[in-house]
Symmetry: C2
Subunit: 413 residues, 2 copies
């Protein structure tokens, strides 16, 4: 395999040339990353794809993990639909049986909606988690799968599953085993309303019927996320929006806060709500950046404690790829929406760290897990959680936002 | 707080002087560690103790975590019972209300036996896990609590709980939510039969009735552990003793293998089974040592992959305190039982690494979590899992084994 070196844009270039350089860079790297997955991940035999790929694309686990599988089907469809150069038979040819595999095998005891966390390559369930994330990425995949071929059974599945997830979150979670035992401190993880807002965005996209159906849920998601803003954006709060005692209650997850902020920004954009936009930039982007960025080595910490105790998570000081992807999108989007040059500066800083540390110079795709000082902790390119998702999504969105910024400059000439 | 420097025994001293030096070292350090917990952890108001203590003993979380709480009550009682210099009112005075707190508040919905993972300081349940480890250390605490004051309600609780745990493991685990969903690859974690064998040992100790009652369970535990020995000691196998597909199936946990080996050694000792002893030393001590020890930086890795893929756990290359504690006990015990000097050499090597890296030279107690190169990853002295347990147990057992070795040398003079 050849070297995949790529020169980074020079941040001293300002405005137009810098935007153009980053846009080219994102596009080129997006192509490279997608080629890794099309070359190595597809299961020609049973459909769908494998996510457990080593540094050079070797399969190290034949189980199919539902989170990365749902993400990859969704990502292939979205690229096929929305990016001209990805409208290729290769992507559709993998996404179609991938969607079929999911609709047939993801649910543990169909017609019940609970999905597996992992299944064998031919679809027998292996593990089930007490969360709603397998189901969420299943929903995303189903909706995207419907958008590319308009087979209604996929959209029906997406809507039914989302409605079930909402029921678990807002009415009764016993199917997830969340409420099997009485608990006084029932916590809400920021990932949950963020995931719901993400799914609402997905289903509402250019769809008037769904926009109406999920308008109330959208408001609910925004309000739930905003409740996590206390002294800082806290990762866990009580169901009635209060702080929680102990280390869990003080936990900050900078990547999760910024990801939530990105969905809030999109909402503020749609609603033309500049007050929300400014609040989000201030509290969900800049605040987690300042508390979460490692001033010594660079990169986002995985966890911080709001009172500066040592976070109790073993991986607290590791640098993970996805918060960096979400931060690039969020800061570029914030800059595009507000024109604040501070946000562009931070985008450049995060992008430079990310491309210098997470990219592999020898083989394609990114590392996902670095230790504090930026060296590689796990050399895998995919695993139980990491698949073809966060970095291609980031590059596709950045390419698109940068394109729009360049167009604006052109138009104003 | 003063400095807690301590000179390490010189390994070039052989035999008697080295044993004596290590024995003195263990005794002194055991006293130091216990003084940390008696000074900082006790809850005078509601009884029991807190485990979330920072580097210098400050409380960073007022929730009570049931694993370290059960362990601490058990450890205090055992030291009080078995080590002359710990027969102090201070230890009993903390263990009694600690046991009372557990019997009143550990179970989530008494009389059902499922225990919480964490409770508020006054005993309201907060979190519940789908495992049996809270219940196991509860059992240990109840049995020890009974041994120091002979209040039968504690022993009744211990026996009832152990019987329930056995029911979950061997008959029906639905109360733990293990079998809520059908699974083809039901896995057995090596920690489960190891925990059961540990509890059997605990209840059988100098108790003929219990020795009889749990004789069959003891055999079962030994046989289940031995089934994990395949190409190496595998952390996860199927319920019928077969290897499992994927990364989980290839997972090795050197600390867990050595801990299991230590309980097998004790069993071989009791039964006078030298064939089992030799097999255990070879496969459960030396094999995990050779595959699990980091030849470059020293210390045990947390996880390894039997085919040398990168383990999928984020903390795979971290060095945790407890495997080092278990290894010191196991290799010293193996040496004492077999006379093989290789095992003594490894004990010295592990002990030297452990005392150089996990001990804090400024404040008392040990760090629990180092990064690969031996630097401190989390500076906490206690947390959700780490409490007053593995290192005092290690030092108390090593002190005792070394004492017996010295006595043997005296006797043979």
């Amino acid at each position: 395999e050849s070297q995949w070196g790529l020169e980074l844009p020079d941040p001293s270039w300002n405005g137009y040339p810098l935007h153009q350089a980053w846009k080219d860079h994102m596009a080129k790297e997006l192509d490279t990353v997608i080629s890794f997955w099309t070359d190595y991940s597809h299961d020609q035999e049973y459909g769908g794809s494998f996510s457990c790929l080593s540094r050079n694309g070797k399969l190290y686990d034949e189980l199919k993990y539902l989170l990365p599988l749902g993400k990859q089907v969704g990502m292939y469809c979205r690229l096929y639909r929305t990016v001209e150069r990805f409208r290729r038979a290769e992507l559709l040819g993998a996404a179609k049986p991938g969607g079929e595999f999911l609709i047939r095998f993801a649910r543990v005891e169909p017609p019940a909606k609970k999905c597996a966390f992992s299944v064998t390559k031919d679809g027998t369930p292996v593990k089930v988690q007490r969360t709603l994330f397998s189901e969420s990425y299943y929903t995303l995949a189903m909706n995207e799968r419907w958008r590319v071929t308009e087979e209604t059974r996929y959209q029906n599945e997406a809507v039914e599953m989302l409605d079930r997830i909402v029921y678990w979150v807002r009415v009764d979670s016993s199917e997830l085993s969340w409420t099997r035992f009485s608990r006084t401190h029932k916590a809400e993880d920021l990932a949950v309303p963020t995931m719901l807002l993400h799914l609402v965005d997905q289903l509402q996209e250019e769809d008037e019927e769904m926009s109406k159906k999920y308008a109330e849920l959208e408001d609910w998601g925004v309000q739930r996320i905003l409740k996590h803003l206390q002294v800082a954006v806290l990762d866990n709060i009580s169901e009635d929006g209060q702080g929680l005692p102990g280390a869990f209650g003080r936990e900050q997850n900078p990547g999760q806060a910024i990801e939530a902020g990105r969905y809030l920004l999109q909402d503020a954009q749609r609603e033309g709500d500049t007050q929300l936009r400014d609040q989000v930039i201030d509290k969900f982007l800049l605040l987690p950046f300042h508390s979460g960025w490692d001033a010594e080595h660079g990169g986002f910490y995985s966890f911080r404690d709001v009172d500066n105790w040592v976070p109790h998570r073993l991986e607290w000081d590791m640098k993970l790829w996805w918060p960096h992807c979400e931060a690039m999108i969020a800061f570029l989007m914030g800059y595009s929406d507000s024109g604040d040059p501070t946000l562009l500066k931070i985008f450049n800083q995060v992008a430079e760290y990310t491309f210098c540390h997470f990219r592999d110079l020898v083989y394609r795709e990114w590392y996902g897990y670095l230790i504090e000082d930026g060296r590689v902790g796990l050399s895998i390119k995919g695993g139980l959680y990491k698949g073809c998702y966060y970095n291609p999504q980031c590059m596709a969105m950045c390419e698109q936002i940068l394109g729009a910024l360049l167009q604006r400059t052109e138009d104003s000439k």
